[in-house]
């Protein structure tokens, strides 16, 4: 195993630790906007993991997954915020 692939696996492990920390905040977050921001951060972490996995395998097709995921993360957080704004009036 070269130093480069070791670096990539280390980066993926660190991002997985990030996902675990976000999951803890998602479970104990006192309010709903906390959970929406957790979802936002979660999606950007998953985009990072997909990018590092693309570099690790050398398969170009996974970048499209990252594009679609960035679009869906924005739409998800915006629609959750809109729902929250409408449901409490």
């Amino acid at each position: 195993m070269s130093l480069f692939s070791f670096t990539l696996i280390f980066a993926m492990a660190a991002l997985s630790i990030c996902v675990v920390l976000i999951g803890i905040r998602f479970a104990m977050g006192p309010t709903l906007p906390d959970r929406i921001t957790c979802f936002d951060m979660f999606v950007s972490n998953i985009i990072g993991i997909v990018a590092i996995y693309t570099e690790l395998t050398g398969n170009h097709d996974f970048i499209d997954v990252a594009i679609i995921l960035s679009l869906f993360g924005f739409l998800g957080s915006i629609s959750f915020a809109y729902y929250l704004m409408k449901s409490t009036r």
């Binding site: 670096t7 980066a11 957790c38 950007s44 972490n45 570099e55």
Partner: protein
């Protein structure tokens, strides 16, 4: 003069450095999300940290592949993220203020109250929403 330079090694080193920097930013943002006392402070931490970290990780991936179409897709993702993350944070923060999410007790709210007072003179329905402040 370029025969005995290993370009693959140089690209791997640059990509590794960029990815490690991005991952460190992501980790700082996640720790901030877990440890900060208030919803608004947490939101500021993770918006800046995750946007910059994601940009660095994707730049590292683009420099490793060294192809034009990969670079175009990477620039598309980075541009979209840099454009949409502040917008999403603004909308969520505005929703949180409307929904009376409490501030940290040590936050200085004087300018915010001045702003709300100025808003009240023009919009009547804001007054009903922000009475708790």
């Amino acid at each position: 003069m370029f025969e005995n330079i290993n370009f693959l090694l140089i690209r791997e080193i640059i990509s590794s450095v960029l990815i490690i920097m991005g991952v460190v930013f992501m980790l700082i943002a996640a720790i901030g999300l877990l440890r900060f006392p208030d919803f608004y402070i947490r939101m500021s931490a993770i918006t800046k940290g995750s946007t910059l970290g994601l940009g660095l990780i994707l730049t590292g991936m683009g420099t490793y592949f060294n192809e034009p179409d990969i670079l175009l897709k990477v620039l598309l993702i980075i541009g979209f993220t840099f454009l949409t993350a502040p917008v999403a944070a603004h909308v969520i923060g505005r929703t949180a203020v409307r929904n009376k999410i409490p501030f940290w007790e040590r936050t200085d709210l004087e300018e915010f109250k001045d702003y709300l007072r100025k808003e009240h003179s023009t919009h009547r329905d804001h007054e009903r929403d922000n009475k708790h402040l």
